[in-house]
């Protein structure tokens, strides 16, 4: 698959702060957007809207995060919406943690609105789908050194509110859920983006 595309990616009309970002430096050896530039992931193309981290991986987790609005392949410049609290539809792996042997340690078996979501460049995420950039894990599978930048929080899509919202009243809230427990899956979820990379209490060492 590819990064998320199509007409349903925007789930809020505001706020919007557009910022242009070069995909990489002049030498082509340092990327300013990730994990898009990683060879394992999809290449960014016009019409794709992944949630990505901005700035070098070496700065992780102190990276701004945002959603690609447009991409100009002629200049290699992406315009991201970096506004706090914009809501977008995104691909999210249901992985919640990795173990010390760099395998998957746990899964988010039930997804709740408000659950934090991180930009995750783990092999298990692209192995699942090369268009998936998010998971519930605050560390990548290289967990000894790699904290994941906070991307945002699971939110209701416009048509996932009970008795309210687009499509008329619904009989129940309708956040997508994994089909099975303790099994890796890629979910399509709405995420309210934030730019607070702040470390959670659980990972302050």
């Amino acid at each position: 698959m590819t990064f998320i595309s199509g007409p349903g990616w925007q789930q809020s009309s505001e706020p919007y702060v557009g910022r242009k970002v070069h995909l990489e430096n002049d030498a082509g050896d340092t990327y300013y957007l990730w994990p898009v530039a990683d060879t394992n992931w999809d290449s960014l193309n016009d019409g794709e809207h992944p949630v990505l981290a901005v700035g070098r991986k070496a700065n992780r987790p102190a990276n701004i995060t945002g959603v690609v609005v447009t991409y100009d392949s002629a200049t290699d410049i992406a315009t991201l919406n970096v506004a706090d609290k914009a809501i977008v539809r995104a691909y999210v792996a249901n992985i919640a943690s990795y173990d010390f042997w760099w395998g998957i340690g746990s899964w988010q078996n039930t997804i709740y609105p408000g659950d934090p979501v991180y930009v995750d460049d783990s092999t298990f995420v692209y192995g699942l789908d090369n268009g998936c950039t998010l998971s519930f894990s605050e560390q990548s599978n290289d967990k000894l050194s790699s904290l994941n930048p906070l991307a945002g929080y699971v939110w209701w899509c416009q048509d996932e509110f009970d008795d309210s919202g687009i499509g008329g009243s619904h009989s129940a809230q309708d956040i997508n859920q994994p089909a099975e427990t303790n099994t890796t899956e890629m979910m399509t979820l709405c995420v309210q983006l934030v730019n607070d990379h702040g470390r959670g209490v659980s990972i302050i060492t």
Binding site: V17, R60, D76, N195, D196
Partner: protein
């Protein structure tokens, strides 16, 4: 030198959230820092990036850019909006050991985090320099995150103000492992968030 001034300090037209701040409380507790002492004293026409609130609260301080200053009332008006971009003075120091600079950002990349730093090394370098790459100051106390290095309007390759450029143009230090003050564009944020270097 003094705090940053001139006509090119603004590098984005939006967002703007203005807030008036008294420079100090009635009991003379400083509410904006670093300013005064070994640093420059704020004057009209100067636009430094500063921390708001007592330094005792560090690193949980809002950060913003001074838009205007009224010396009659000692009130500064800040833009505290997340993601506005300004040109600012930034020291290339990224670490201190026993009160002295011990690490330097020898190559500057867009997206590198920048902090409000009240260390003497900065004011010695330039009394108008309030930012560095160091998550802790010389004491060592946590520094509030000010924002991230970003391209100025004329620093994009093949795009932006001034027509097409042949390369990206982020300013770089002239020498390695040497303290320098750089003029860089910074995308301001208000996330004081913990850095992995803090404990």
């Amino acid at each position: 030198m003094t705090f940053y001034s001139g006509s090119t300090w603004q590098q984005s037209s939006e967002p703007v959230i203005t807030r008036k701040v008294h420079m100090e409380d009635d009991d003379e507790t400083a509410l904006v820092w670093p300013e005064g002492g070994t640093f420059d004293t704020l004057g009209a026409g100067e636009h430094p990036v500063l921390a708001i609130g007592r330094s005792d609260n560090r690193p949980m301080n809002i950060t913003g850019t001074v838009i205007s200053y009224d010396s009659a009332t000692d009130i500064a008006t800040f833009n505290i909006a997340d993601k506005h971009i300004v040109r600012a003075y930034v020291a290339n120091i990224n670490a201190y050991t026993q009160g002295a600079a011990s690490g330097w950002q020898n190559t500057i990349y867009p997206g590198d985090p920048v902090y409000i730093d009240d260390s003497d090394d900065l004011s010695t370098l330039n009394t108008g320099c309030t930012l560095s790459f160091a998550p802790r100051n010389e004491d060592p106390l946590n520094n509030p995150l000010a924002g991230y290095v970003h391209w100025c309007q004329d620093e994009y390759d093949d795009q932006g103000v001034g027509g097409p450029n042949t390369s990206q143009g982020i300013n770089q230090p002239a020498a390695t492992d040497t303290s320098e003050m750089l003029t860089l564009c910074v995308m301001i944020v208000n996330d004081h968030g913990w850095n992995e270097n803090w404990t």
